[in-house]
């Protein structure tokens, strides 16, 4: 297992470097935006990866509620944490891109706002886990995760009708995209997916280990004699 992990880590490193090379050197420079546009290769894969992780969080939460398996709960925490990280990358690269291109850091556009709301929902999920004083945090957290997932389509829909009432700064060109760009984008996405998987994997192992240690400690406490208090 350990060996597979190391090999996978090396492969991911290679893929990431290759994708970086592709993004910075190989990909053609965009005509109107110039080199800033290269943020695209980080911005978009991060977003897709974050969406994927949030989906995993939802599925894991449902499974947890049905099976009450500790593994599903661990997976839910891990995917939410890593998902929030990637979502944060989107929220940071977005404004970095917006500033030179639109001249402002932020605007209340559909895509931007819905991403922000998504981020807020999952941060509140992590907050709940952190602040819970209950012995059954996973149950409360899983309920919140499901509420959050139910909310996402409504958020997107509401913001979509809300903000398109007025003209908004338009993202990208929409329409066509240079096939070479498309190619680089896919490579980057593959690299990001591997990277996310890698982090999730090690974070998951850490989480499982932590739980095992806690269980050991509890067992130890059981076996040791104790006073009344």
């Amino acid at each position: 297992m350990k060996r597979i992990f190391t090999v996978f880590a090396l492969l991911t490193g290679l893929l990431l470097s290759y994708a970086l090379y592709q993004a910075l050197i190989v990909a053609p420079t965009e005509k109107t935006m110039g080199d800033v546009q290269r943020i695209f290769y980080y911005h978009v894969p991060s977003a897709w990866t974050a969406f994927l992780l949030f989906t995993i969080n939802f599925v894991a939460s449902v499974v947890y509620l049905i099976r009450r398996s500790s593994a599903a709960d661990a997976l839910a925490v891990v995917s939410a944490e890593v998902g929030v990280v990637f979502c944060t990358v989107v929220l940071v690269t977005g404004p970095l891109w917006a500033r030179p291109v639109w001249g402002i850091w932020w605007t209340w556009d559909v895509r931007l706002t819905s991403t922000l709301v998504l981020w807020l929902i999952y941060v509140s999920y992590l907050m709940l886990r952190r602040f819970s004083a209950s012995g059954e945090t996973p149950v409360l957290a899983a309920a919140l995760a499901i509420f959050g997932a139910l909310d996402v389509p409504l958020v997107y829909f509401s913001i979509w009708i809300f903000r398109t009432q007025h003209p908004q700064p338009v993202i990208g060109g929409g329409g066509s995209i240079d096939p070479r760009m498309w190619h680089v984008l896919l490579i980057n996405w593959a690299a990001f997916l591997c990277f996310a998987l890698l982090i999730c994997w090690s974070r998951y192992r850490l989480e499982v280990l932590k739980r095992e240690v806690e269980e050991m400690q509890a067992l130890e406490a059981l076996l040791q004699p104790r006073g009344s208090r």
């Binding site: 012995g135 059954e136 400690q217 509890a218 406490a221 059981l222 104790r226 009344s228």
Partner: protein
């Protein structure tokens, strides 16, 4: 009839109950004794379904899921489990509703049974401590449950009323209920208890028919 097997309850790293296996039969009064922090309250809470066992199983009247037997359990806790802002009668009327009991007669009788006046309009928050304790017992008895879990019912209750309570409890026992009673005033129950269950550090260390204070330890 309560059957407990290998019950362990942990709060984080701390084990409050460390492997309890026991049976409690109907028609008997069990008095649970033990030092502060021995785990008596935790045991009762587990049986009542308020604390989830970390390991082990509890079966009540044949139900392996405690919730299924909740209609048969009467639980009296350290805190009063009463609304301070309402009078005793108002409280009982509300709780009776939760058990589907709609006539006030029953509530009034229970209140009289613990030697209080059902006509008292004062809110429970203004009762004296002992009156509150008795009201709390009344709440536990309200739906005439088959199993009674009483956590220190005599604390703060005056001597005379405590004797009355003992009589009441003995009667209940005789009407075929299973009664688990935690107390530190074991002498009050010397004559009526069927068995004394000694707990220490989360375990049951002995069960005796006679009360031998201090000597047992």
């Amino acid at each position: 009839m309560i059957r407990i097997a290998g019950l362990i309850k942990q709060f984080g790293p701390f084990a409050a109950l460390r492997g309890i296996t026991a049976e409690f039969a109907a028609g008997s009064l069990y008095v649970i004794l033990g030092d502060n922090g021995a785990g008596k309250t935790t045991l009762l809470r587990s049986i009542a379904g308020l604390a989830r066992p970390t390991r082990g199983s509890i079966s009540i009247l044949g139900n392996s899921e405690v919730r299924d037997a909740c209609r048969d359990i009467g639980y009296m806790a350290h805190p009063s489990l009463l609304y301070d802002e309402m009078s005793g009668m108002e409280n009982l009327r509300y709780f009776a509703g939760l058990y589907g009991i709609s006539d006030d007669g029953r509530s009034e009788n229970v209140i009289r049974g613990v030697d209080l006046d059902p006509a008292l309009t004062r809110p429970v928050g203004q009762y004296s401590q002992g009156m509150r304790q008795r009201m709390s017992l009344a709440r536990a008895l309200l739906h005439d449950p088959k199993i009674l879990l009483l956590d220190e019912p005599f604390s703060n209750v005056d001597y005379r009323s405590a004797l009355e309570m003992v009589k009441l409890i003995a009667q209940l026992r005789d009407s075929d209920k299973t009664i688990l009673l935690v107390t530190h005033q074991a002498t009050l129950l010397e004559d009526v208890a069927d068995e004394f269950v000694w707990m220490e550090a989360g375990q049951i260390v002995s069960r005796t028919r006679e009360l031998k204070l201090l000597e047992t330890r």
